[in-house]
């Protein structure tokens, strides 16, 4: 190195720099191309939803029940926008998602914590496998199961409870997984600090691990909700749908995706498909953005 002439070293550095510049350029072009490929469908979807759906989005859309086909037809013939909204769908989705969350969150957290604690034992592997399989079960099959469990045996008819059961089973493996992963990311040293202060294990979980992993746990829950909020197939077999705003968990209930399906089947309601889809899409998008910001904040 020492006897190498200075100019040669300088030339080499310059050459290296040129090389890097070309590489950097190539890389940024690739980045732009790939981002374009991924963004394109999203832009297309959102563009379509907005252009077709915005007309129907007004206050009534959020505070009125879905119209019947006669009302829609009358409006259509008069050249007006379809009256009414999707309130029965919004309340139904709220009710069922909330109930599903109430079932799946505590169970998922408990099982996730259990797997975290006993992760290396044999039966933990089994539980993990079952949870993975559950995650792969087609949602319509879960709807069928909820139909036989709840619709036939518990509520003796289509019901919000049955819908929530199907959704809860869908959420469960997602929450189990995210809980275990989140807790695993917390360094052992934090746990040991708790032990060294004489804190019993269950209190360390409750008062140290859960608060420390809180944002991760919350993000996992929100992501699970955003995954199920648009589910349609299992609800057809369980909640069925309803023209009314319903808060009785034993009664058939509507949901936004169910309404979209109903609108699709009614030639007079086509315009409402787009606005309802836009609403659902916005909901999922917001949930995802909130989840992302929670994840990155910590």
């Amino acid at each position: 190195m020492d006897d190498m002439p200075a100019y040669s070293l300088r030339t080499r550095i310059a050459e290296g720099r040129d090389h890097r510049v070309v590489k950097d350029k190539l890389l940024s072009i690739l980045v732009i191309v790939f981002s374009a490929i991924t963004i394109f469908p999203i832009v297309l979807i959102i563009g379509k939803l907005i252009s077709k759906g915005y007309k129907q989005i007004n206050l009534d859309f959020f505070i009125k029940k879905a119209p019947d086909t006669y009302e829609a037809m009358t409006a259509l013939n008069a050249g007006e926008i379809i009256p009414g909204g999707i309130l029965n769908g919004i309340t139904g989705t709220l009710l069922m998602v909330l109930m599903a969350a109430l079932i799946a969150i505590p169970l998922g957290l408990l099982i996730g914590i259990f797997l975290y604690e006993h992760g290396s034992k044999k039966y933990a592997g089994l539980i993990r496998d079952i949870s993975d399989i559950l995650q792969g079960v087609p949602s319509i099959v879960l709807g069928l199961i909820a139909y036989f469990w709840v619709v036939k045996n518990i509520t003796h008819g289509f019901s919000a409870l049955a819908g929530s059961t199907a959704l809860a089973i869908m959420m469960l493996p997602l929450i189990i997984r995210s809980t275990e992963e989140t807790l695993k990311m917390i360094p052992d040293s934090i746990k040991e600090a708790g032990f060294a202060l004489g804190v019993p294990y269950h209190k360390i979980i409750l008062r140290v691990l859960i608060p420390t992993g809180f944002s991760g746990l919350l993000a996992g829950i929100l992501l699970a909700i955003s995954r199920i909020i648009g589910e349609t197939a299992p609800l057809m077999l369980t909640a069925l749908g309803s023209m009314e705003v319903n808060f009785n968990i034993q009664k058939p209930t509507s949901a936004v995706p169910l309404l979209i399906w109903e609108f699709y089947n009614d030639p007079n309601m086509v315009d409402l498909i787009w606005s309802s889809s836009l609403f659902l899409m916005a909901l999922v998008l917001i949930l995802n953005i909130v989840t992302k910001s929670i994840r990155s904040k910590k």
Binding site: P187, S189, I190, E192, A193, G194, F195, A196, L197, G198, V199, P200, Y201, K203, I204, R207, V208, P211, T212, F214
Partner: protein
């Protein structure tokens, strides 16, 4: 003339025939006998993997966490068999500080000092809490640096400040013994010096057991030193004696840097 310490009058800790194995046949600590002198700094030295941490963690029963560890022998704290004390009682009497500063990330500086109380559900009046926090932070010479930001998260502090906060957290219960496992190995020289000065100050009130890789650190701040090798306690004596005139060949080789 140096001598191997066989007996210490009224020891805080008395380790008797202590052997520890992570796997049934491979002992990480074998047959350690030692009394620990009250209100002194005792250093535990030895090459990597010789069992220093394993020994230290047996004293406050951190090994309780893992079910397949085999422990033979006993440790007495002020004459009481530690295996018969409740973990919470024992760990209120024996504080521990780790290699990497590990303040609770969700807690403020204030709450970190009080973590032992909070996490164990011990309720204190506001005035008591304030008093403990101020006194303990004064003790670890952190008060002046953080008194205006007590409600900020502990993780915002520098590494050295975090480590002093962790020492404060361990001292908030006013333990008899403070165990430290290489507390300065993740710190820069300036922060290390502060912690060392702090330990010298703390030995007025506390018995300190310090695992260190750093021989000059042991020489600077410890009164007694243990040298461990492959799980065995090879030599235990006054630090000065041991550094000037080690009795065992292995101690001498370690101190002269023949192996590390």
């Amino acid at each position: 003339m140096s001598e191997i310490i066989k007996h210490i009058e009224d020891p805080v800790l008395d380790i008797q025939k202590l052997s520890i194995a992570y796997n049934k046949d491979k002992y990480a600590v074998t047959d350690v006998n030692a009394g620990i002198k009250r209100k002194r700094v005792t250093a535990i030295m030895g090459p990597s993997g010789c069992g220093k941490s394993t020994l230290l963690r047996a004293i406050n029963r951190m090994h309780d966490l893992y079910s397949n560890i085999v422990i033979d022998g006993k440790v007495f704290l002020n004459g009481e068999d530690t295996s018969e004390l409740s973990a919470i009682h024992l760990r209120r009497k024996i504080g521990m500080v780790f290699q990497r500063p590990n303040p609770f990330p969700t807690m403020s500086i204030y709450d970190n000092v009080l973590a032992g109380y909070k996490l164990n559900g011990i309720r204190l009046k506001k005035t008591q809490r304030d008093e403990i926090v101020e006194e303990t932070l004064q003790d670890v010479t952190l008060w002046d640096e953080v008194k205006d930001s007590l409600l900020k998260k502990g993780t915002f502090l520098s590494g050295g400040q975090q480590q002093r906060l962790c020492i404060a957290r361990a001292l908030a219960f006013k333990p008899d013994v403070l165990l430290l496992d290489e507390p300065t190995s993740a710190l820069d020289p300036v922060a290390t010096k502060k912690v060392e000065e702090l330990l010298i100050k703390l030995k007025k009130n506390y018995t300190i057991l310090l695992v260190t890789h750093n021989m000059s650190q042991a020489a600077r701040i410890s009164d007694f030193s243990m040298f461990m090798y492959m799980g065995e306690l090879v030599e235990y004596g006054k630090t000065k004696d041991m550094f000037i005139n080690p009795l065992d060949k292995r101690t001498e080789e370690y101190l002269t840097g023949k192996f590390s």
